[in-house]
């Protein structure tokens, strides 16, 4: 009788241990997912900030060449290269926390409005430039954030 009670106790103990392990696994996965979501939120926030800065700097430039010069002077821009002749490819760093620098790749498409006959510039006074800014986190191939922008430039 005593032996049967001991066996029952041990079986119950093992069963509870298995249930505890299951609970630990579920809670651990929940918190890991939560941390992943928080990191994604941080990267998205940083990407939005970078896209806004690129939009502001490009809006202040009269043409793509001037925009490239201004990006080159920015501390966050690590590398800059031409993107198929109608845009720029930037590698930018964002200082997230002390010692942590997130790296982003930013593609800027710069499309100037063409007149009906295909010549550059819609009018003698100004031209409309359409811009699309795509921000990629690290080496990812899908942009984490895309910003469409546009503004009028005074004809040179």
């Amino acid at each position: 009788m005593k032996r049967e009670r001991n066996i029952a106790f041990i079986v119950e103990l093992l069963l509870l241990f298995v249930i505890l392990l299951f609970v630990i696994v579920v809670i651990t996965q929940t918190f890991m997912k939560s941390r992943g979501q928080s990191l994604y939120a941080r990267h998205l926030t940083e990407a939005v900030t970078l896209a806004e800065e690129v939009a502001e700097v490009s809006a202040s430039a009269a043409d793509l060449t001037e925009a490239a010069d201004r990006f080159d002077a920015m501390e966050q821009v690590q590398e800059i290269s031409s993107l198929s002749g109608e845009g720029l490819d930037l590698v930018m760093e964002f200082a997230a926390e002390s010692g942590v620098h997130d790296r982003y790749r930013v593609e800027l498409d710069w499309l100037e409005e063409k007149a009906a006959d295909g010549s550059a510039g819609a009018s003698a006074g100004s031209r409309f430039v359409t811009k699309q800014i795509r921000v990629y986190f690290a080496e990812e191939t899908v942009p984490i954030y895309t910003l469409d922008s546009g503004d009028f430039k005074e004809q040179a």
């Binding site: 509870l16 809670i27 918190f31 939120a41 900030t49 800065e53």
Partner: protein, 146 residues
Amino acid sequence: MKKIFGDIISTITVAVLFFAILMLVVFSAVSYQRSVKISDANGNTRAVLSYIITAVKADEASRVTIQDTDGMQVLVIENESTGYGQQIFYRDGKVQENYGRLGEPVAVDDALVIGEADLFRLDLKADNLLQITTDLGSSYVHLNRG
């Protein structure tokens, strides 16, 4: 002897279970703390910069200038039609703002606090590009007017 061995096993098992629960609580608390910290950083990091950028871009008709008053940089968003302007400056570790008459000294004692910062600097990178730098980052603002 067998009974003693059984008792030891039971005690160790209970202790291990208790330790596992304790580690689970600690891990959960640390993970939650990290998530909250990231969430707070996302929300507060650029609050001061966002406010200033919004103020600069709010009125297309305003003229934006940087003035040096007694060694203190003041960002002035002028509304020439009213003769008043919004004045943003850094003093005593805080970014502050005041609304006052153009051409008169900044009333620093009447200013409202926008936020705290260890650093606040204004640079005109070009005629139409303003850089605002704080210890939590910097931002660029395109000025539509000079």
